[in-house]
């Protein structure tokens, strides 16, 4: 049984496809593996949000801004992006000319992302200046192994690798944000999540587009599939998110 939030997301953003051919077919086939994970993400996010609503204090708001909704609080997202600029070799420039521009745009997105969490901490009165966060480990750590990020072991090994993380993981981000927004009325929390949703949607769509348009051969699909396999391992980032649902069921 799919959560209504996931079904709506699939119908509006996953299934509409601009291209036919092997890229889109590959994406939709791989998506079947993600649906149970994404469904658990929604279940877990709704459970956590309801727990927070019933909390006796507001520590969760401060902690949410310090850590971000996915371990990318005020300072982590831009630190990660600095390791993720995309190199495309000269012979591949004609094929992947726009991928570098999409990477550059995401670096700027992550700057805004970090600033948003800092804004929440300032508006909530938990800090007076953002520089206070430089000494706070809660604002500068990430626990889950992403394929790309400070926990990653590899640079971009293929121009299309990032499309894999963007498609699978940014969908997770979108679903968590949509789930939280479906139950939260607090204006500070809504600001933080609402403001972030369009950005994560953009990164998800970027992954979707790159797979549909460029992953046309088994050789081009392999590095994307490797990212999916990595993230879905028991210790991988997507699997870690889905575990929230197991916690919720207990």
């Amino acid at each position: 049984m799919l959560e209504p939030i996931l079904q709506d997301f699939l119908d509006k953003w996953v299934y509409p496809t601009g291209f036919s051919g092997p890229g889109a077919e590959f994406r939709l086939k791989e998506t079947e593996r993600f649906i149970p994970v994404w469904n658990n993400v929604v279940i877990g996010a709704l459970h956590k949000a309801n727990e927070q609503l019933n909390s006796e204090n507001e520590d969760w708001k401060r902690n949410g801004a310090l850590g971000g909704y996915s371990g990318e609080g005020p300072h982590m997202s831009i630190k990660q992006m600095s390791t993720q600029l995309l190199s495309v070799s000269i012979p591949q420039q004609a094929k992947y000319i726009d991928l570098q521009r999409m990477r550059a745009r995401q670096v700027w997105d992550e700057v805004k992302h970090g600033s948003l969490h800092a804004d929440i901490l300032l508006r909530g009165g938990w800090i007076k200046k953002e520089t206070e966060l430089l000494d706070d480990p809660r604002a500068a750590n990430q626990g889950d192994p992403a394929y790309f990020g400070l926990t990653a072991m590899v640079p971009h090994i293929h121009p299309l690798s990032r499309a894999g993380q963007n498609y699978l993981e940014e969908a997770v981000a979108c679903l968590r944000l949509i789930s939280v927004l479906s139950v939260m009325e607090d204006p500070l929390v809504r600001h933080e999540n609402d403001s972030q949703l369009l950005e994560e949607m953009m990164h998800f769509i970027e992954g979707k587009y790159q797979i549909d348009a460029y992953a046309l051969t088994p050789e081009d699909q392999e590095p994307i599939k490797a990212v999916f396999d990595y993230l879905l391992r028991p210790w991988g980032r997507s699997a870690a998110h889905a575990k929230e649902a197991e916690h919720a069921k207990k």
Binding site: T17, P22, G23, R101, K208, T217
Partner: protein
């Protein structure tokens, strides 16, 4: 080139658009080039008369910002894409390059 033309079948609602440039990238990928960077204002993205909607709807499949691309004749929002604009016939065929 006149931009944000009343004669173009689609237009971008700048109140909703996030300037992510996905529509620009996609339209250029299929060689229509109907999404342009306006020469005036803040270099916003706009759609010109080269747009062949409803014969092509590919930009609508990769726009992430609800409400940001609008049907000129009706004012109908096309993001996320309604069912009638993502039929199989409207998909652009992509094939693996010959090795």
């Amino acid at each position: 080139m006149a931009t944000q033309s009343k004669q173009a079948p689609l237009f971008i609602d700048h109140e909703m658009c996030t300037e992510c440039r996905m529509c620009y990238v996609v339209c250029r990928e299929i060689d229509l080039n109907a999404v342009v960077i306006a020469p005036e204002a803040q270099h916003l993205y706009e759609i010109d008369e080269r747009c062949i909607y409803p014969g092509c709807t590919v930009c609508l499949m990769y726009c992430p910002a609800p409400g940001s691309i609008v049907e000129t004749s009706t004012g109908r929002s096309l993001v996320p894409p309604p069912a009638d604009v993502h039929t199989d016939e409207l998909k652009w065929p992509r094939k693996a390059p010959k090795s």
